[in-house]
């Protein structure tokens, strides 16, 4: 699972929809993998306004990345190739292959195996 996708995930449990603490989900025992893909600045330009930067910082912190800037790059910073390449590396090339995603509100844990997260819920939680 790419960090980009993880940035958009929320808890699927019905009671967590309104709770602020259900986002972002927290990684536990995560194993990372780097898979290189083609660099596409247009995609980053398109997606960056929708990234929740605070969520990304929390996740990167849990996964043990050192250097995530405090503020979301905006305006002229997006024309800098190095910034874009860094974003590309973090958002699109970093994959979480194994581990668990945990909801901060209800504590439900979603297993990740071979990069696939299991979001099936038992019927009483739907």
């Amino acid at each position: 699972m790419k960090l980009l996708t993880a940035n958009f995930l929320t808890c699927a449990v019905k009671g967590c929809k309104a709770a602020a603490s259900s986002y972002p989900l927290h990684f536990k025992d995560a194993e990372l993998e780097l898979q290189e893909i083609d660099f596409q600045p247009e995609f980053i330009h398109n997606i960056i306004p929708r990234i929740d930067w605070e969520g990304l910082r929390v996740m990167a912190n849990e996964l043990g990345f050192p250097k995530i800037p405090d503020l979301k790059p905006e305006g002229d910073a997006l024309n800098d190739e190095q910034t874009m390449r860094d974003l590309h590396r973090v958002l699109l090339e970093t994959h979480v292959m194994e581990g668990r995603l945990c909801c901060g509100n209800c504590g439900h844990e979603y297993m990740i195996k071979e990069g696939i997260a299991n979001f099936l819920l038992p019927s009483h939680l739907v």
Partner: protein
Amino acid sequence: MSRPEDILPPDLYYNDREASLYTSNSRIKRVQAEMTHRALELLDLRTPSLILDAGCGSGLSSEIISAGGHQVIGLDISASMLDIAVQRDIGSDLFLSDLGQGVPLRAGSLDAAISISAIQWLCNAESSDVSAEGRLRRFFEGLYASLRRGGRAVCQFYPKNDAQRSMISGAAMKAGFGAGILEDDPGTKNSKLYLVLTVGGGGLQGDITGVVNGMSDVDVLDARKSATEKGRVLPSRKGDKAWILRKKEQMTRKGKVVKANSKYTGRKRRPAF
């Protein structure tokens, strides 16, 4: 012809065997590719986007979308199908998830959504604590929330009958979408239905029919217009001239030998003497 939807729930029907048969069948591959290209044409994406593939299966359509430079998030309920998708290494992010339980993404995250031959499965309620209407409602509400303003979704589906067709499109409209149905090759065995959904606030001017502006060979039939004009046109009754002409046309289309139409067609026979 039997429908897999009538046999088993999707997570059990698509076991390892069915999943590999589905993915290796060249006819299915060709049809899926055609439908995906058509759906992409309807989505009309200008920039590389983030797209949801609802019911992605083994990733036959995700592969085609990724090839256009887009990022794909795939959801499916069949673990066997996802297993094949992982082996095929299609580069999209996959989730084991039931569409009838909603879409676990935060609001306004997606540019577009696509779904090929999947949402008719939502019309099956496998246990007594869920209903088909409830599953469809949760899916469309989740989808509506997760699309950004001006986003679009195209869902190709195979309804069992007209009741299912109107149940699915009705559920989408209740969730807030502007909805229209595009039918390719109507009246033939290869007819394909696409439910085209729009979220307001985008560049689309006017109503849903604007989606097909500029496409050739598309006739727009507006059900709303005919509903307001109701009463002026009498509906044809079984046995009257219009009914006979319609039936004759149907038979001609099927390739049957049909008598030519004349002024006597559909006229009542009087007693001769």
